[in-house]
C-alpha cells in the first residue's frame, strides 16, 4: 500500500498499538519523553507511574516541596498548588495528583459522597450511548489490568458520567466526555471524581460546559480561536492550513477530551490535565495551536489537500515535547488574549458562513438534479459587475472582465485550480 498511511508517524496502527513509531533515544529522565503506556506491561503493576532510573534533581526537589505542602494542606493557598501544577513536570505522580486535583478546582471533603448503583441509573435516556462508549474505552485502562477490575472500573465510569448529567439535566453527554471522566476516575477514584467532574462541566467558567450544550456550535466557535492564534505566530503556516481547507476537525477530539482520547502515553495526558485544571477554559485551544506550530515543518511539506492535512495533523506523534509546548502555549495566551482575537474569529466565521451559502446553493442545484451548465467565465464574473457596466459593449466587457479576472486570480489562485 503506497499511501502515506504507511508512514510511521501518521499510520493508524500507531494509534492502535502505540508502538510502531520508533521510540526516540532520550535520557530516561527527560520529562518530555516518558514511557509509553504499552511499554509498561507488568500484569501486577496497575498504575502507570514510571520509575526513573535516575531522577532529575530539580524534580527531587519539587517532590519534597509538594510533600511538605501535603503534610498540612489546609494552610496552603490554591496558588501554591497551581504553581506546582503548571511548572515543569506538573504534579509529577498520581499519588500527588489524587490529593491535589480536587484542591485545584476547590472540591471540599463533604462533597465526597457514595455513588449510587448502576442499576438505579440504567433507565436514563443516554444510558445506552454512554455504555457503548465506555465499553470501547479499553485503551484507556492500565495494561494488564485483571478483567474483573476493569469491568468494575467501567461500571464506575458509567455511573460517574450518568450522575453528572442527572444532576445537571441540561448538560448533554458527548462522545469524548467519557475520556475526560476516565482520566479523573483513574487518578482520583469514584468518590472524588464526581464533584471534580461536576466543577468542570457546570457553571459559567466550567471548561467542559460549552461541549455539553444542545449543539456543537459553541465548541466549534471556541475551536475557531486556533487559527488566529497560529496566524499571529506564523502567518505562512496559517496560510498553508487555510489553503488546504483542513478546518479544525482534526483538533476536535483533542479539545473535547483534553487530549485524553488522542495521546498514547498516559503520563502525557495526566501532565496536561495538571495544567488544564487550573488554566483558563480556552487554554487547551492554545495548546492545540502550539502543537500545530511545533509541527510546522511537516505541515509545510504536506500537500495542500484537506484529507492529507487532516490525516497528518490528527495523528499525534508519541514524542511531542509537552513541557516546551505548554510553555509556548502559555506565551501565546499572554500575547494573544481571547478578547483580542474576537474580531479575527468573527471574520473567519463570516467567511465560513459565506462559503457555506455557496455550498448550500450548489447542493440545492445538485438535489434538483439539474444539469447546471456553467456560464462562461467572463459572464460569470460579469454578474458581479454593477448593472450599468453590464450594458457596455461586449468587447469592453470582455477586456474589463479579463482584467478583473487577472487581479482575482492573482489573489485567489486556489479558486481556479
Amino acid at each position: 500500500m503506497d499511501s502515506y498511511d504507511s508512514d510511521p508517524d501518521s499510520g493508524d496502527k500507531c494509534n492502535l498499538n502505540g508502538d510502531c513509531s520508533p521510540l526516540p533515544d532520550k535520557l530516561p529522565n527527560d520529562l518530555n519523553h516518558t514511557k509509553n503506556i504499552d511499554d509498561i506491561a507488568t500484569p501486577s503493576e496497575l498504575n502507570f507511574d514510571q520509575e526513573f532510573a535516575f531522577e532529575d534533581p530539580e524534580i527531587t526537589e519539587k517532590k519534597k516541596e509538594i510533600e511538605a505542602c501535603l503534610e498540612n494542606p489546609d494552610v496552603i493557598n490554591v496558588d501554591q498548588w497551581e504553581t506546582f501544577a503548571k511548572t515543569k513536570a506538573g504534579l509529577i505522580s498520581d499519588e500527588y495528583r489524587r490529593k491535589i486535583w480536587p484542591l485545584l478546582v476547590g472540591v471540599t471533603q463533604d462533597e465526597l459522597t457514595e455513588p449510587p448503583s448502576l442499576d438505579e441509573l440504567s433507565t436514563h435516556p443516554e444510558y445506552n450511548q454512554v455504555v457503548l462508549d465506555v465499553n470501547r474505552s479499553l485503551k484507556r485502562f492500565p495494561p494488564g489490568i485483571p478483567y474483573e477490575q476493569r469491568v468494575a472500573l467501567q461500571d464506575q465510569l458509567t455511573v460517574l458520567i450518568l450522575r453528572v448529567i442527572i444532576k445537571h439535566p441540561h448538560l448533554k453527554y458527548y462522545q469524548g466526555y467519557h475520556d475526560v471522566a476516565i482520566t479523573l476516575l483513574l487518578v482520583c477514584g469514584d468518590r472524588a471524581s464526581f464533584p471534580l467532574l461536576c466543577r468542570l462541566s457546570y457553571g459559567p467558567k466550567a471548561p467542559l460546559a460549552p461541549f455539553m450544550q444542545l449543539t456543537m456550535q459553541p465548541t466549534q466557535h471556541l475551536l475557531n480561536y486556533m487559527l488566529p492564534v497560529i496566524r499571529r505566530a506564523d502567518d505562512r503556516l496559517a496560510e498553508c492550513l487555510d489553503k488546504s481547507g483542513v478546518g479544525t476537525m482534526f483538533a476536535l477530539p483533542w479539545y473535547l477530551t483534553w487530549f485524553g482520547h488522542s495521546l498514547n502515553r498516559y503520563s502525557d495526558v495526566v501532565r496536561l490535565y495538571d495544567y488544564f485544571l487550573c488554566a483558563p477554559p480556552l487554554f487547551p485551544v492554545y495548546v492545540t495551536a502550539a502543537i500545530v506550530l511545533h509541527r510546522a515543518p511537516q505541515v509545510f511539506s504536506c500537500d495542500a489537500d484537506m484529507a492529507m492535512m487532516h490525516c497528518l495533523l490528527s495523528r499525534l506523534p508519541d514524542d511531542l515535547p509537552f513541557e516546551d509546548i505548554l510553555v509556548v502555549a502559555q506565551k501565546l495566551y499572554e500575547k494573544n488574549d481571547p478578547t483580542d482575537l474576537e474580531s479575527e474569529v468573527a471574520a473567519l466565521e463570516r467567511r465560513e458562513e459565506e462559503q457555506r451559502k455557496v455550498e448550500d446553493e450548489r447542493m440545492r442545484r445538485r438535489r434538483a438534479g439539474r444539469v447546471v451548465p456553467s456560464p462562461s467565465l467572463p459572464y460569470r464574473l460579469a454578474r458581479y459587475l454593477p448593472a450599468p457596466l453590464r450594458r457596455t459593449p461586449r468587447r469592453t466587457l470582455l477586456a474589463l472582465t479579463a482584467a478583473i479576472l487577472a487581479v482575482y486570480v492573482y489573489y485567489k489562485p486556489e479558486l481556479f485550480r
Binding site: M1, S3, D5, Q175
Partner: protein, 220 residues
Amino acid sequence: MSTSANESVPGLKQKKVFKIIVLGDSGVGKTCLTFRFCEGQFLDKSEATIGVDFRERTIKIRNEDIKLQLWDTAGQERFRKSMVQHYYRNVHAVVIVYDITKPETFHSIASWMQEIESHGLMGAPRVLVGNKCDCGTPESRLATTYAQRLADKYGMPLFETSALLDSECDNVESIFMTLAHKLYSKQPLRVISVEGELGPRRVTLSRQKRPLRNDTCLCS
C-alpha cells in the same frame, strides 16, 4: 485545493481519488469496517469516533491505481448537525451501516437517507451494509428479506457482513470494491481537469450530475 494537480509532472499519471463517506448510528461498526478494509484485520480495541476519522487504501482497477479515501464519521447526533457537514462536500459515494442485531439502527436508515438527500447525494453510488452477522441467533437478527426490501426501495445494493470474522474479509472487500467500480465506470462522464495555466478548461458534458469545478478531485 488540489495544488498537486498543478504540480504534476507531465506524462506521470496522478492517482485518482474516490471519496467515500461511512454513515450510520453509533456502535454499528463503521470504524471496524473501514479498519477491516484498510488494514485487513479486526480492530479489537475500537474506540468511539469523535468527529471524523480518516482511512485510506490504494486499490487497482484495470491496472490503474485508485486511492479510496474513507471518511469514518461519529454516529452521535450532536456531531452530525454542524461538524460532519463539511465532510459531505466532494463525497463521491456513501456507505450506510446498521447493526443487524439492533433493529433501532436499521430504523434510523430513513433519517440517514434524508441526510444524504439534503446533501444532494442521492445520485451518488450508495450501499447498505448490515454488520455483525456473526452476532446473535438467526431469530434475533433482522431478516434479510426485510432489509432487502428497504434496500430495493432506495435502489441500493445490500450487503450483510461482519467486520469481526476473518472469513467475511472478502465480503467487506466487495462492499468498497463495488463502489469503486461504480465510480470508475461513471467517471468518463465526468470532467477531466486538465492542468493549465489559465484555470480549468471546461468540457461540456451531457450527463453531468454535479457542478463541474467540484469534481476535479476525482481525477486529480
